[in-house]
């Protein structure tokens, strides 16, 4: 009877698998929870949801599904094994009350009567004395048959929220960041750029070397050690700031913090719109400048260059000398870009604007051509591609 629920979750893009469905059935089979909707909700949550970002979606789907189910209440009710109800009753009632139930004709009869009532009653009902919802010795007193469903004879202890309220609370709403890029995902994508080299303290046994040296030593042990592998990739991050980049500032700062964490050897510099003869060391772009020539001399071609910018500007800012909107530049932006690409064989351009619009902006086209199709969108898959490209120069953005 839960297969529909499982399929409903699956249809609504909750990543669930058959194994998990079987696990749920196994758990129910083994009586992990008592028969209670709240517990069922908790159990299915712990089985199906594996990441807090899906908790909210699960709450919504659970609510929706069991609301739908309540519409066909009677049929579903017929499916409830009687054991469930009995079990619940056993828990809920004192001996005195049980005696009264016996007086009413025993539990079996009471349950029959309950089912009968369900047939007649199609809507949620509270109060009155015929329908379910009567209270008193009837176990069906608290909530009647409503989305709380099977939870007949509601938990009297108080303090606990009713199940429906719990999933309607949607307390995990904030974690549902679905497709949004967050630093964690960026870190994962950036991790692809690893160049492992042995450097530093020799703290690992070099088995090959030891065997070789020992045999050469006529069996007298000669232990060789080697340094452990570490990620030695060197990254120079060039960020466009100001102007049209302002709307992407959050995304860029996330990328920045992820990159800072991920790479030990990382340097960053700032520019505005295009790289000209100077770059800035702080994002306010005041004071501390460094000449682009100096950058080209200081960082050798081992460094991987990641340029982040929207590449959206007037074409003359790229193509003409004195084209910069901020200052008098002797050489055109594009010629500086060519100096960069000539010096650094491994570079990528990450563009925060939607890639679908790239073809409509002339300046993006020019820069894309300059990068030789190494412009990638600033998305998880874009970053992943870009990192592959930095490792293997054959990778290009062909879209």
């Amino acid at each position: 009877m839960f297969l529909d629920f499982f399929l409903y979750l699956k249809q609504n893009k909750l990543p669930v698998t058959i194994t998990e469905y079987l696990t749920l059935l196994e758990a129910l089979d083994k009586d992990v929870v008592e028969y209670d909707t709240t517990d069922f909700y908790y159990l299915s949550k712990t089985v199906f949801v594996k990441n807090e970002i899906f908790l909210d979606r699960f709450d919504v789907l659970f609510g929706q599904y069991f609301k739908d189910v309540s519409a066909i209440g009677a049929e579903l009710f017929a499916l409830i094994p009687e054991d469930w109800l009995k079990n619940q009753l056993d828990r809920e009632f004192s001996d005195e009350e049980k005696a009264k139930i016996e007086a009413l004709g025993g539990l079996e009869k009471l349950l029959d009567r309950l089912k009968e009532l369900f047939e007649e009653q199609k809507e949620r009902h509270q109060g009155g004395n015929k329908w379910i919802g009567t209270g008193g010795t009837s176990p069906f007193g608290n909530n009647g048959y409503n989305p709380e469903g099977i939870k007949i004879g509601n938990n009297k202890s108080g303090g606990n929220k009713s199940a429906v309220k719990i999933w309607e609370d949607r307390e995990f709403q904030n974690y549902d960041d679905d497709l949004e890029l967050n630093t964690r995902n960026i870190k994962m994508a950036l991790r692809r750029l690893r160049i492992l080299t042995r450097e530093g303290v020799e703290d690992e046994l070099d088995l090959e070397g030891t065997i070789q040296e020992t045999s050469r030593n006529a069996g007298l042990l000669d232990i060789k050690m080697q340094a452990t592998k570490k990620n030695k990739v060197k990254v120079l991050l060039l960020l466009d700031v100001g102007g049209s980049m302002d709307e992407h500032v959050e995304l860029c700062s996330e990328l920045f913090s992820a990159a800072k964490y991920q790479f030990k050897n990382i340097e960053h510099l700032y520019f505005h719109n295009c790289i000209y003869e100077t770059l800035w060391k702080d994002n306010e772009r005041r004071g501390d400048r460094i000449s682009t020539w100096e950058v080209l001399h200081k960082y050798n071609n081992d460094w991987k260059i990641i340029i982040v910018g929207d590449a959206s500007m007037a074409t003359y800012e790229l193509t003409s000398a004195r084209g910069s909107i901020e200052h008098y530049n002797e050489e055109s932006g594009l010629s500086w870009l060519h100096k960069m690409s000539g010096h650094f064989p491994n570079l990528v351009w990450l563009n925060p604007t939607t890639s679908g619009y790239w073809q409509y902006t002339q300046s993006i086209k020019i820069i894309r051509d300059w990068t030789e199709n190494r412009m990638f969108p600033l998305t998880i898959s874009g970053i992943t591609q870009a990192m592959k490209c930095l490792k293997n120069s054959k990778v290009r953005n062909e879209n």
């Binding site: 990543p15 929870v33 709240t38 712990t46 303090g159 307390e171 046994l205 088995l207 042990l221």
Partner: protein, 280 residues
């Protein structure tokens, strides 16, 4: 045999269900949540409540999956071979058992805590897939399979520093410990300090949740910090009535350092308290 929290540990119903499901289906339970919500403590309390021994494996950034199984000390063996040490052919001598091996070998069911799994390398969880699924592994040096005598109850905690692989998650039960609401928090405080005066509890909780409501804080105080703070209040003999004043006036409550752990946050909080005082 089911887990319902202990005298010292308040477990929500959702957490109880998750633990019990993991115990009876013998699958690992992955616990996530804000720092200071009692993730690690859970394993200790589960062990206490169910009367089982706890094996704790604390993961660091340098930990490898293999270390949890066993480590083979080749260098020591080479050395012994040169010095003509005894038992040179007994490989077991040179195998150092890891926590997983110890837990598998135990004569009764134990609780195994794998603490902060996200600290390790990104491939770490993948390297343990088979071991956690089948509860056995192959020791190449001894040429035999080490199989769990009793499948241990495995509790894994994660702080979300790295995303865990899907294949790994599929094999676990998952529970996210959300930050306790006021009611639960009161229970937690009661558990730690049973004879606290009512006003002190309610006023300290108000101030505490007031601080947590400040959105811009870099590090929000958590349960363990609240417990520490109340302890300080008790030691400092701050009465509940005295705290009452701090709810309304502009001064910062005493021992605020226990709740706010960096100077920007303290500064921000002070500024907020003083907001009403400003002339504009």
């Amino acid at each position: 045999m089911s887990f319902q929290g202990t005298e010292k540990y308040v477990a929500t119903r959702a957490l109880q269900v998750a633990v019990n499901a993991a115990v009876s289906l013998q699958k690992p339970l992955l616990i996530k949540g804000e720092p200071g919500t009692g993730k690690t403590l859970l394993a200790y309390e589960v062990a206490t409540a169910l009367g089982k021994t706890l094996y704790s494996w604390n993961i660091k950034s340098t930990t490898f999956a293999q270390q949890g199984l066993y480590e083979y000390d080749a260098v020591a063996r080479l050395r012994d071979s040169q010095l003509g040490g005894e038992d040179i052919n007994n490989l077991e001598h040179y195998i150092k058992k890891g926590k997983l091996w110890e837990a598998f070998e135990a004569d009764e069911q134990v609780v195994l805590l794998i603490d902060e799994i996200d600290k390790a390398d990104i491939e770490f969880p993948n390297d343990l897939l088979y071991e956690l699924d089948k509860m056995e592994f192959y020791c190449y040096e001894l040429k035999r399979v080490i199989k769990a005598k009793h499948r241990p109850i495995i509790i894994i905690t994660s702080n979300n520093e790295k995303e865990l692989p899907d294949a790994f998650l599929r094999r676990c039960f998952f529970h996210y410990i959300s930050f306790p609401d006021r009611e639960t928090m009161k229970q937690i405080v009661d558990v730690h300090y049973p004879k606290l005066e009512e006003t002190l509890i309610s006023n300290s909780l108000s101030i505490f949740y007031g601080i947590r409501d400040v959105k811009a804080l870099k590090k929000k105080p958590s349960t363990s910090e609240l417990i520490d703070w109340i302890k300080l209040l008790l030691v400092g003999k701050v009465s509940g009535d005295l705290l009452e004043d701090f709810k309304t006036n502009t001064e910062v409550p005493p021992f605020i350092g226990a709740l706010l752990k960096n100077e920007q946050d303290t500064g921000l909080y002070e500024a907020l308290r003083n907001k009403t005082k400003r002339p504009y």
